[in-house]
Amino acid sequence: MSLVLNGTTGITNLPSINSGQIGGSRNLVINGEMQVSQRVGTTATATGNNTYIIDRYTTFASGGAAYTVQQVTDTPAGFKNAAKVTITTADSSIAADAYALMQYRAEGVDIAHLNCGTSDAETVTLSFWVKSSLTGNFGGAMRNSAADRNYPYLYNIAQANTWEKKSITLTLDTTGTWLTTTAVGLVFMWDFGSGTDFQGTADQWQAGNFHSAGSQVKLTSTNGATWYVTGVQLEIGSTATDFEHKSFGEELSLCQRYYEKSYDYDVVAGTTTYIGMHLMGGNVAATAGTSHISGPTIPFQVPKRDNPTIVAYDQAGNSGKCQRFQLGSHNTDNQAISVQSIGTNNFRYITSSSSNSTGTQAHFTADSEL
């Protein structure tokens, strides 16, 4: 069947574009342009182990180096935001088992069609815009959830402090176990200075847990070194197509499958505010008491990937607490709270304390990240 171009009927018999799907969403990455940052906003934040800063990107650091991640507006043309990594403590002698990296973890249900671990495994292209204060070959890797099948890669930054678009094309693994559930399906990462224990052979699938190929630039060796990334796209096919922009609302909803909060978008959890608090009980006619107060189940704005971890806050920002109040009389923060019946769609909480109250209110965060 031949491709037909017709001035009346348009294009027919078109099987694919760049070996990928014709329409819909090509980019398998959520928040690829770093525009959603629910947890810390634009504050430069120290990383930890499996610490999410900008939505959907988790960070790891072990060894002598330390770094921060920050949502910034220094971007290539056509983008609003990027992630900025800054080395705040350099490690001049990186131990073999040290590591520093940022990961994206795709949910298994979202990569099932890539046929990983089968003879039908797709060819995919990972592309991103990057710049750094350092130049040379930087490293990264793609792997499965068990971290026992791994594809290390290198990308070259030619000019310091200049945005460059990079792409890595590979045929996905035809062996190994690749989950297609709500657990981790596929991981890719950028390495900032992992030790020799985590360096594999570039551009081939292999057994093992690697973060990079050898001989790459160690960002963590230079105090104050910076590295930026945005426009992250993973798509089927061997061509890095232009970045597929999504609306902010669409990206936020996609991110909320993994994390949401009762606070307004631009308010960090733990901030002193009553805006967004969930009010429970609140029987204004009842006599105030110290007994249990429960209320309606609190629904999530977006169903979660899995039952999430809940942190509650009172109005003053105390975590693990709620506020008890008597309308028109008083409100008291720092009151005990018990979160219960956490599901993927909702949860509820109950409180009792020495504070005479007719109602209670609390903020929350719900975290179901991978």
Binding site: N50, N307, P308, T309, G320, Q340, I342, I350
Partner: protein, 53 residues
């Protein structure tokens, strides 16, 4: 106080979730939750979750 403590559902009177006493987070007993996976590892390392009040 142990790092983790059981939380009783006051309606069903059964253990409903685990509270991280350091972060105050309430962690559902669900294998797919990464915080619960950390609880299981902590227990496997020989620690014991504190009983509910």
């Amino acid at each position: 106080m142990a790092k983790y403590k059981k939380i009783i559902n006051l309606i069903t009177n059964e253990v409903d979730c685990i509270q991280d006493t350091e972060t105050t987070a309430f962690i559902p007993i669900k294998a797919g939750n990464t915080d619960y996976q950390a609880v299981l590892k902590w227990v496997a390392d020989g620690n014991t979750i504190e009983e509910a009040d």
